[in-house]
Symmetry: none
Subunit: 418 residues, 2 copies
């Protein structure tokens, strides 16, 4: 099956918004073997929307749109759809009931303005939106050409695409699932060091497949791609490639695909009934936020302390005053990280304590301790691991990399001690 994507909204053409919806739609559709042959973006103009829909229908017969289904005057996708198919726009009782239900769910009366969200071109199918107020629409002509309109709010688009549109598309075609690439996620090693580890040829291929290095603040992702071959053969090649990468760089690989290091660490702890408590200074709650972003993290995470000021490090974590004084090493030091980890572990009665202290910048650096200097410590039982590093990047990056490194320090400790 071949489809085109159409994303709608002035904010996209003004560059205020990066079009992450298009990438999500493309990836989700590609995964089930649907080929996205083109993507267009137009503004909030019903004529231009209709014209773009018709062009897409002429080329491929199938268009999925995102955006322009809200209740305000600049939401014009309904009008564009009606114009493209030459159909009248009518208030649909089912759609109206959905919008009203949505507001009632949150104990509110539907504002009058939202009535327009129940306008539907004659003959269109209304797809219920469990994630927001705008119903999605599916309109098909007598020649079997169709347009699906999805909302532009990312969570609504994602929910509707995954739960409703993809099952419908699957049922319409026995499309073979084609897996063309595999991603192994590494952290704690740089791109060049990884490339040297992976092969004399600069590590540009593995098992005959091209290898890409995708660096980010979480680490470097390794992506192997198998193109232009049947699905079964691609799987075999990708398995072999993944095996070779694990042989060479296994220590640094924490997962595949879109694996999250926090989720990996939580699983390792849950298997062994271990609990984690966090004591954060420069990350200010970011590590706790990463851990609690994972559903079910309450099994292993009772909580933590954000000890941003020195008095809080003393009163809530029991870090000795002498250590915090500059002659004792100062707040950003290996010793303070250790004392934070030990203090939070003891006070929360957890098996594992993690401490992080550092200088996220832009201010606060010195020649001996430049901006980006971070110390972290992990204590499990009597065992303590510490890790110090000067991170490159702005405040946000230093903090994000610190939280990731703390999780990786714990992962390494758990793996070795297993």
């Amino acid at each position: 099956m071949r489809v085109e994507l159409l994303t709608i909204g002035a904010e996209l053409l003004l560059g205020y918004t990066v079009d992450t919806n298009a990438a999500f739609m493309a990836r989700s559709l590609s995964e089930i073997g649907v080929v996205v042959v083109r993507h267009d973006t137009v503004g909030d103009d019903p004529e231009l929307i209709a014209r773009a829909m018709l062009d897409g229908l002429d080329r491929t017969g199938a268009v999925i749109t995102s955006g322009g289904l809200g209740p305000t005057a600049d939401d014009r996708t309904r009008d564009g759809l009606a114009a493209a198919f030459g159909r009248e726009l009518l208030t649909d009782p089912e759609a109206l009931a959905q919008v009203e239900r949505r507001f009632r769910l949150f104990g509110r009366e539907m504002p009058r303005i939202n009535v327009v969200q129940a306008l539907v071109p004659r003959g269109a199918r209304v797809l219920e939106n469990r994630f927001g107020s705008a119903p999605a629409l599916w309109l098909e002509d007598e020649r079997g050409r169709w347009v699906i309109t999805l909302p532009g709010v990312p969570s609504e688009m994602r929910g509707l695409l995954t739960e409703t549109v993809i099952p419908i598309l699957r049922s319409r075609e026995s499309a073979p699932v084609v897996v063309t690439s595999r991603t192994l996620r590494t952290t704690g090693i740089g791109e060049s060091a990884l490339a040297e580890l992976l092969g004399a040829d600069g590590g540009s291929s593995v098992a005959g497949l091209p290898l890409a290095y995708l660096p980010g603040w979480e680490g470097v992702d390794l992506r192997v791609t198998a193109a232009e071959m049947p699905a079964a053969e691609a799987e075999r090649h990708l398995d072999e490639a993944a095996r070779r990468l694990r042989d060479r760089a296994g220590k640094y690989i924490y997962g595949e695909g879109s694996a999250d290091l926090a989720a990996v660490v939580i699983d390792l702890c849950r298997e062994r009934s271990l609990t984690i408590a966090t004591a954060e200074s420069c990350t200010g709650g970011l590590l706790g936020a990463r851990i609690t972003a994972v559903p079910g993290s309450s099994d292993v995470y009772p909580g933590g302390v954000v000890a941003y000021s020195n008095p809080v490090k003393e009163s809530l974590l029991g870090v000795p005053t002498e250590l915090l004084a500059s002659r004792g090493g100062g707040a950003v030091s290996e010793e303070v990280a250790r004392a934070m980890a030990a203090g939070v572990r003891e006070r929360l009665g957890a098996n594992i304590g993690i401490g992080i202290t550092g200088i996220a910048g832009p201010g606060g650096g010195s020649p001996e301790k430049p901006v980006g200097t971070v110390w972290m410590a992990v204590q499990m039982g009597d065992e303590v691991r510490t890790f110090g590093r000067v991170y490159v990047g702005d405040r946000g990056e230093v903090r994000a990399r610190s939280a990731q490194s703390a999780l990786e320090t714990l992962r390494q400790l758990l793996i070795v001690s297993s």
Copy 2:
């Protein structure tokens, strides 16, 4: 001037890459008054590339592309450009010298494969690329319609656009019209309610300028745009529009442009020498992370407690056991949020305490307390404000919206008490 953008590459249509180039180009062009009327994406196929270029030329007469100028077999933009204009592709000595120079700069011999980067359609102007090996091209026909091809590597595209293309476009327009816009950031009110508040016409314009509603988890941004008028006049209109929006919806407006609510609240506290301590359950550190993301937040933020489990709510915050028991209202209740705020304020010796407790999902909901139920409390001196809400969205959204609401609850308290 009106232009269209064309981004080229299979990775975009597979969704592996989010198209940040399109957003950067759109924003940079908008800033100098060039109107981007459309953006298309096609794969690495010279026929489709040529077709898309011709469609764009027919509609607006000006197309800027990105991608497909590399040395490998899947880089086909040069062929597409030649086909669209019916010109021959020739090796251009100037372009070849540029590519060779680029490799020499890094002490390397030019690989033979890179010779294709010097292929240029007859009559095209070669734009030097100081940021990489692929020269950009500018081809104009006898009717004054033109295509500029830029590389797809973001740093190369950005460098060429900023240093070369934008100065050329500026010089071509005699009386540059400026498109300027202003964004007012609101939170704590939905899109529909805001539109009703802003006018009987659905709030689609203000002071004669079009008004756009941009909803996100932080709230709804209001953007007013002044197009096709001289800069001074645009400023006057925007000032008037902003004044009217503030008259009607001022209570909900926390800043302009890309203002961050956490930074706004920190400034308000700093002015009055007030300190904030946080007690977080469902947000798990996210509120602390938002506050400490702001440079200089240590002036007002000593820290907080992440009390994810009930025992930590008791031991570190002093929340009474009876309240946490289900007969007392349970951990997710107005009373517990109050007790958390009071406890963290007292134990950290801060002026203001914030407590948040809720059910972020996907599990843990019940008919009486569905997923998304969140209670928050802010205590300043003897004054306490509480706020309860059932948020829509997935786990990430519920948490992000909760942190934002807690900050807004505090902002409202600070504004009223000032």
